[in-house]
């Protein structure tokens, strides 16, 4: 980065800066701006300004405004103060949604966090056909999430002849109700989500494992460390940064889980899988009384504030990590 900045320096500082600079008036400033190609710069900036302006910056500002308004599509919006926030915080479903989202996140950590790490550490020692290992691990990530959810929904068929129940039947287990049971539904969702996500984490860990300085292992061996101690006292501490980053990424992703509850269970059975994002969706788009856009934006804003803290942490870490 720094090397390029040095190279680029002559471009930013106009070559041959005049010493007998004329007095700066708005008119001359405009003339020099035009002469230096200012309008052309704007032409190139136009797509970024328009697209980000209309589809990113404006909606972000608007979401803050809307959370303090009552908006429906018929009448002009009306200011309602904190009413939307109060409404959301008094919704009995909010507690359920938050609890379910936390439960999803926790299960995703228990199931999905250690598996890629162990797999990556073992895979990094593979000497032949390493590419085959990582390709197989990554394959589920490529499958469109909608397809994988719909496929797993077939696997989770609760009848004794369902795919999973048939397999478990071979060892005398089941049949399990899977998605139809209040206690089993959430773990089933997490299992499918882990299948489609774990490969990406494996790839991150594999890259990080390659960057462990070899001297550290050499030094550990001189001190007489065996394989387990090398993994525990050299590899793991070296991965600490990456492990923390994937943890944050996973928390950010699981807090916004929508696809799995929406397509697997629709939030059921008995609201056992209603998540925060599903609740936002219901407020805005599945409301028989017309979209409650104010409540939806208020809840998204509250979730976003929590998530922004995590992404801030993530950017701080990746910045120090890549330097």
């Amino acid at each position: 980065m720094t090397r390029n900045d040095v190279l680029a320096a002559p471009v930013t500082a106009p070559p041959g800066t005049r010493t007998d600079r004329p007095r700066r008036t708005p008119a001359t400033a405009l003339v020099t701006w035009v002469r230096r190609g200012g309008p052309h710069h704007l032409v190139f900036l136009l797509p970024t300004l328009v697209i980000f302006g209309v589809f990113s910056w404006y909606p972000i500002v608007r979401s803050v405004v809307m959370s303090f308004q009552k908006t429906n599509l018929a009448a002009p919006p009306r200011w309602v103060g904190w009413h939307n926030f109060v409404f959301v915080l008094h919704d009995p479903l909010l507690g359920t949604a938050v609890r379910n989202t936390l439960w999803f996140a926790l299960l995703a950590l228990i199931i999905g966090y250690p598996v890629p790490l162990v797999a990556a550490v073992v895979m990094s020692e593979v000497r032949r056909a390493k590419g085959l290992y990582s390709a197989l691990a990554y394959l589920p990530v490529v499958v469109p999430p909608v397809v994988s959810v719909l496929l797993w929904r077939v696997f989770y068929d609760a009848s004794p002849t369902g795919v999973f129940n048939t397999i478990l039947g071979w060892v005398g287990l089941g049949p399990f109700p899977w998605l139809q049971d209040q206690t089993w539904a959430m773990p089933s969702l997490v299992l499918a989500a882990t299948w489609s996500g774990a490969g990406g984490t494996v790839i991150i860990y594999l890259a990080a494992l390659l960057s462990v300085p070899p001297e550290l292992y050499d030094a550990a061996e001189v001190d007489g460390a065996g394989i387990w101690r090398k993994v525990w006292h050299v590899t793991m501490p070296q991965l600490r940064g990456v492990l923390f980053i994937t943890l944050i990424l996973q928390i950010i992703a699981t807090a916004q889980v929508f696809l799995e509850p929406y397509l697997f269970t629709g939030g059921g059975p008995a609201n056992a899988t209603v998540t925060v994002l599903l609740l936002i969706y219901r407020y805005a788009f599945q409301n028989s009384l017309g979209g409650n856009y104010g409540a939806a934006t208020a809840l998204s804003l509250m979730l976003a504030v929590v998530l922004a803290l995590f992404s801030l942490l993530y950017f701080r870490l990746t910045k120090s990590w890549s330097q």
Binding site: N4, P10, L45, G131, V147, T161, A207, I252, A304
Partner: protein, 298 residues
């Protein structure tokens, strides 16, 4: 990300460790076990999907794990493609992906060019504003973006039920802009200077110098743009309400209940084909982890 790309000479287990029989057998069998697990878990469900796609529905329902079902039902694929009109939704998906690709490429290259090469005084402000959107989770945008598309500023018509509703917001990817900008930063400035001396204006410089030198990064952005738009579900679900223009990801859940199981699984298999082929073609790119930085946006 660049720091992790280097390859190490060795890992935790040394060459002399490998010579010990205990390690050789232990680690060797661990590798075999892992490979078997990866095949069963990673490939297994997809193989099962491929098998179901050509299995008669009655067999899928009664004996899903039978190795030899009663005959092969190629008709599943045929019915899915023609009768359920998967061909139509497949084309919609291609169309959605192509437009999203074009809009992402346009914004990323022009934006990256201004921020990296032209560098106007206000560039820092624009860059900060673009970067700031990476901190905002997509969930915040959902409702206000929907209303913006419903009543776009300056336009008189709603964009709902038009591909533009998916194409245009796809362009607002800060990750792409920064990725391309970083690549432009790494191009040698001397070439730009030489082109300027030869009389190339900003447009010529962009089109004939910068873009041709940037094929690798344009390829990266393109592959991830297509994959991302193939995967996208919630946004097209909201803005493409008319079934006749919906992509596969939106259409598949709604036909699930009304379609014969075998035919439906054949449809799922068809929808998976393009991403899998792209993965096999660009494996190195996927496995290098370049695109994972975009994962933050969720």
């Amino acid at each position: 990300m660049a720091a992790i790309a280097q390859t190490a000479d060795r890992t935790a287990v040394s060459a002399s460790d490998w010579r010990r029989p205990g390690v050789r057998w232990g680690l060797g069998s661990a590798h075999v076990v892992l490979l078997v697990l990866l095949v069963v878990v990673g490939l297994g469900p997809l193989l099962l999907l491929a098998k179901f796609a050509v299995t008669p529905t009655q067999d899928i329902l009664r004996t899903p794990m039978a190795v030899f079902p009663h005959g092969i039902a190629w008709s599943n694929l045929d019915q899915a493609w023609n009768d359920v009109q998967i061909s139509h939704y497949f084309l919609n998906t291609v169309w959605v992906a192509a437009g999203s690709w074009a809009s992402q490429l346009l914004v990323a290259t022009t934006g990256g060019y201004v921020l990296s090469v032209l560098r106007p005084a206000y560039g820092k402000v624009v860059e900060a504003l673009v970067l700031a959107t990476m901190f905002i989770p997509t969930v915040v945008l959902l409702v206000p973006l929907y209303l913006t598309v419903l009543h776009p500023p300056l336009l008189r018509t709603s964009l709902i039920n038009s591909f533009w509703a998916v194409w245009l917001p796809a362009g607002a990817s800060a990750f792409n802009v920064l990725l391309v900008r970083r690549f432009f930063d790494s191009l040698p400035r001397e070439v730009f200077e030489a082109a300027r001396v030869d009389g190339a204006g900003p447009y010529r410089l962009f089109w004939s110098v910068v873009l041709p030198m940037s094929r690798p990064i344009l390829g990266v952005v393109s592959v991830f743009a297509v994959i991302a738009s193939w995967k996208d579900f919630l946004w097209p679900l909201l803005v493409l309400r008319d079934p006749s223009i919906q992509p596969l990801s939106v259409r598949l859940p709604s036909i699930a209940g009304t379609t014969d199981q075998g035919v439906f699984l054949a449809a799922l298999a068809i929808a998976t084909l393009i991403p899998i082929v792209m993965f096999l073609l660009f494996q190195r790119l996927f496995l290098s982890g370049v695109g994972l930085g975009g994962a933050v946006k969720g």
